[in-house]
Amino acid sequence: MTVTIEPLHIQLQPYLLARKKFYQLLHLLFSMPANVDALFEIKKEVTFKELLGQLHEGGKILDDFFQHLNLEQIKREQQEFQRLFIGPGPLGAPPWESYYRSREQLLFEEWTYQIRERYHRFGLQYCKENNEPDDHLLLELEFMVYLSDLCLFATKDHRLDKLLATQISFLEEHLLIWIPYFCEKVIENTSSQLYLGAAMLLEDFLSFDLESLVEVREGLLLCLKNIH
């Protein structure tokens, strides 16, 4: 019996789709908790408990949070969201890369440019370019969603490889450099379960994602070598 080996990108579909969803979920958790329906749907559909086994503290906290979710709670989270990320006044956890990387803790520093460059290379730009900084957490996450989405549709192996490499470097050179400091700040400055849990999950997942991307890419290259 001859075994037809499925194309690599097909083999990777479940993996790629799962990461994309994870980024989408993170994006949702760090967005303004205004969409009440979406939150209740998460409560219904997503069981964070299943993350427990692997010592993911963030999962436990989020599980708790969503189990007790109610309208009152959402209102409080909206205020907390505003206090941490919007203002007015000093923010609990400024959600911009520049803030953590510049010596002077400013916005619109060189990292904002670097991020902008990355978007431009993919024919994208922040709709508020030059009006708000490009290196906001939600934008960087959206960019990762975008890239993982591209992977899903990449049928050429070397294209897929390139996309994986792009994401690896985006994680290594950007997200994973500042997100630990950002999460630390969130954890220091809030007692909100939503944001505590989300911050822990974010940090854990990003380092996991980098690790898995590197491995997948190694595997991919290995397979390519064997095939050819």
Partner: protein, 797 residues
């Protein structure tokens, strides 16, 4: 199956922590896909690409319009729409007709201010109790709709006098801005309660004209190049700047050989740089020294008798106004003929702590060295009897005949101005009633009970208390006004002021009291023309460097939108944008004031315009050179050392007709000293412009917020350099670190003004915000601020 997926299998074996993906793989897509509602990353606009090359750094010249007195050339290095660096005027010094306008230490921070993460970014409405600091983000439409409806509601219910635009100086030395915009809007919809005067030279502004008929008693800075002797009496241009090139002229004056004396309770940066001698003095006692100098001058016959005889009223018995006894003259007062107390240096020494012989020496030097310039700063007049200080300085200038002479100086408030531009954005308030700006809290509390005795003008009585306050780019709503604790209670009572609108770029203590909070723009984000206080022959072009960040907006545009909602937009804008205003100013300046003023494009390109003159402006030169044809603008046409108008007010103890030393409440002779033994003053700190930039970390590194205390006073209290102390009196209490230094007079504590009020839960300020300790009791004549008159005690925290 497994053979079909060699890659996946390999991963399954290698990956330790797969739970994440197993888990997220199981989540239904619709649930989370909904999350990324609108995409923020959009397809890139192709046209923009061409512009955005690597090295297209442009240098754009602009100008800050804060309230520091200086106006500097600020060069923004812009790349791809982002300011990457800020530099300043690179023009060489040397030619004093076009002095470089270089930024001070605060200017080094401008880029940091622009991109500071704490910028106010979106309009907000208050959701908690007023002052609590809880806000909710709203749309601009909601913000302007709310403002429009409250402006109307409160105007309809209480009348236009209930609406007030509070004194504010965060961003004020340009053509437009928050206050101008609000006033225009209110004027078009019924009007608003006016205020007069200011917090800077409030006592002087009212007092000096009683002597000279005007506040324009100064001369242009280049006149100092001819001075032989300069007294800077409580003036500190090294820190508060005053006018950007002023220090260049002072330095040149010094090089030309002028001897410079600084009289100040602190050994200031100005004293360090410029002074040949520092005379430490006790706050509120300046008039004692002035009186004694006058005494020395006339007893040693050093006065310019011809000058006094010809130009002045009230020097001696022979020159008194009709109906006033000879013994009320200045000379009689100084010699003690009336009150039995000759104002000898020994008498003054006991009061002001300056050795009698030193007073004699300064008096003689000042009277004998001609020409001599006695220049008064305004700190000394922010005192209980500040009016006396400004008239007292003028009195000495007259005794020595230094008025109207090149290299001399008439003292008093000391404004001078000969370079003007047209301000095209103006308003005409139908309400004529006005209050002294310092009494706005009184007008909130009991406006309807105010009378002429409180400085109410334009009406007998107000029909209402203040019910609506606009506080545009200012911190006078709580931080910079006297007696913060009292003001706070007043504002927290939402039944008193019913609606407060604040616009600012940071979350200041005043902004916390907003009902609607608006994110304003910095000078980088707007067109303007920067004008130095009154002093300086230059204006600086304020180029819009970048588009406003976030949802920040210029107040001019905000109130145009409010005007639209109230149906008066056309009248408000007259079809003009901010850029149109700037262009109109330039064009009309060329047409109406000065044909040599550059065109808009020239001005924009050069970034600065220096007005040129053949020679210095000398205050009162016309009067002195040709008295027959040029009289002073006083009732008698002479310099009124004795003012009959003041005499007729019949409050001789507190409002004397000649300048006199009046022992001050909470001064060194107040019995309250037993309980609160230290006199507390404040000063304009080099790291802040009033309270602006207090939240800027860099500047705090440059000069930290700390209180100065003399080693003698520190020792008595067991306080060491660097200790944290509590400073308190009946009005409030604050914590601050101490700098123990002989640079401040014993008996005096100095706290740099402008720190942001940061109360703990008990209301004790943690930042050293001096106004928790200051008093709202106004000066008697001008109803001006006495914020440098305070008694306090200090102890280790």
């Amino acid at each position: 199956m497994s053979e079909k997926h060699p890659l996946t299998n390999m991963l399954a074996n290698k990956m330790q922590r797969r739970t994440f993906l197993k888990w997220s793989g199981a989540i239904g897509l619709p649930v989370i896909a909904g999350g990324i509602g609108t995409k923020m990353l959009v397809e890139r606009n192709k046209e923009a690409k061409a512009v955005s090359t690597k090295d297209n750094e442009k240098i754009i010249s602009t100008c800050s319009v804060n309230n520091c007195g200086g106006r500097c050339v600020i060069k923004a290095h812009v790349k791809d729409g982002v300011v990457v660096r800020v530099s300043t005027d690179s023009q060489e010094s040397g030619d004093l007709s076009t002095p470089p306008l270089r930024a001070c230490v605060r200017g080094r921070n401008y880029r940091r201010m622009l991109y500071h993460p704490d910028r106010l970014k979106y309009p907000m409405k208050r959701v908690g109790k007023r002052g609590e600091g809880k806000f909710k983000r709203i749309s601009w439409d909601e913000a302007t709709r709310t403002i429009a409806s409250e402006v109307k509601r409160i105007g309809d219910k209480y009348g236009p006098e209930s609406r007030y635009d509070n004194y504010a100086s965060g961003q004020c030395w340009g053509l437009h801005g928050g206050s101008a915009s609000v006033r225009k809007l209110l004027s078009l919809t019924g009007g608003f309660l006016n205020y007069r005067n200011d917090y800077s030279s409030g006592a002087g502004n009212v007092a000096t004209p009683f002597t000279y008929g005007t506040n324009n008693s100064g001369s242009s800075f280049d006149s100092l190049l001819h001075s032989k002797y300069i007294i800077l009496w409580g003036q500190n241009p090294s820190e508060m700047i005053f006018s950007t090139p002023y220090r260049e002229y002072l330095m040149q004056a010094k090089k030309n050989g002028a001897r410079i004396i600084v009289i100040d309770p602190r050994y200031t940066d100005t004293a360090i740089v410029f002074a040949d001698e520092w005379i430490p003095i006790l706050p509120t006692t300046d008039n004692a020294m002035m009186d004694a100098m006058g005494y020395v001058i006339i007893t040693e016959n050093l006065q310019d008798q011809a000058f006094l005889d010809k130009y002045c009223l009230g020097f001696d018995g022979e020159h008194m106004p009709d109906g006033v006894a000879k013994v009320e003259s200045l000379k009689s007062y100084l010699l003690g003929e009336n009150d039995g107390t000759p104002k000898t240096p020994e008498w003054a020494e006991k009061i002001c702590q300056i050795p009698a012989n030193k007073i004699r020496e300064i008096a003689r030097e000042y009277a004998k060295t001609k020409p001599a310039a006695l220049i008064q700063g305004w700190g000394p007049q922010r005192h209980a009897y500040g009016e006396q200080i400004m008239r007292g300085g003028a009195q000495l200038a007259c005794l020595t005949g230094n008025v109207g002479k090149l290299g001399g100086w008439a003292a008093g408030t000391g404004y001078w101005n000969r370079s003007n531009i047209v301000f095209p954005f103006s308003y005409d308030n139908p309400v004529k009633a006005s209050i002294p700006c310092f009494l706005w809290t009184k007008a909130v509390e009991m406006g309807t009970e105010m009378t002429a005795a409180d400085g109410l003008e334009g009406t007998e009585r107000l029909n209402t208390n203040i019910k609506l306050i606009f506080n545009m780019a200012g911190n006078m709503l709580i931080n910079q006004h006297a007696d913060i604790n009292k003001t706070r209670k007043l504002l927290e009572d939402e039944s008193k002021v019913e609606f407060i609108v604040v616009s600012d770029i940071f979350m200041t203590p005043s902004a916390k009291f907003a009902d609607i909070l608006l994110p304003g723009t910095t000078f980088f984000e707007r067109y303007d023309i920067g004008i130095p206080w009154c002093f300086g022959d230059y204006v600086v072009f304020g180029e819009k460097t970048i588009e406003p960040l976030y949802e920040c907006r210029d107040e001019y545009d905000v109130f145009a939108e409010v005007a639209d909602k109230l149906g008066v937009k056309e009248k408000y804008t007259e079809g003009r944008t901010i850029l149109d205003l700037v262009k109109e100013s330039v064009e009309r300046t060329r047409k109406e004031l000065d044909a040599t003023f550059p065109t808009f494009e020239d001005f924009r390109q050069k970034g600065v315009h220096h007005f040129k003159y053949d020679g210095p402006l000398v205050g009162f030169k016309e009067q002195i050179d040709d008295f027959e044809n040029n009289r002073f603008e006083t009732p008698s046409g002479k310099i009124e050392l004795f003012s009959k108008t003041l005499w007729d007010m019949n409050q001789h103890d507190e409002i004397p007709a000649i300048a006199k030393y009046i022992p001050s409440w909470e001064g060194p002779e107040d019995p309250l000293k037993a309980q609160y033994p230290l006199q507390l003053i404040s000063w304009h700190y080099k790291r802040r412009c009033h309270s602006t930039y207090d939240n800027q970390e860099w500047l705090e590194e440059a000069a930290k917020q700390e209180m100065w205390l003399n080693p003698k006073d520190a020792d008595k209290r067991g306080i060491k350099n660097g200790d944290r102390v509590q400073v308190f009196n009946e009005r409030g209490s604050l914590l601050i670190d101490v700098k123990v230094t002989p640079r401040i007079t014993p008996g005096v504590a100095g706290i740099p003004q402008g720190a942001w009020y940061t109360p703990d839960t008990n209301g004790q300020d943690q930042r050293g915000s001096v106004n928790v300790l200051t008093s709202q009791r106004p000066t008697p004549l001008a109803k001006a601020t006495p914020q440098l008159t305070n008694l306090v005690e200090v102890k280790k925290a």
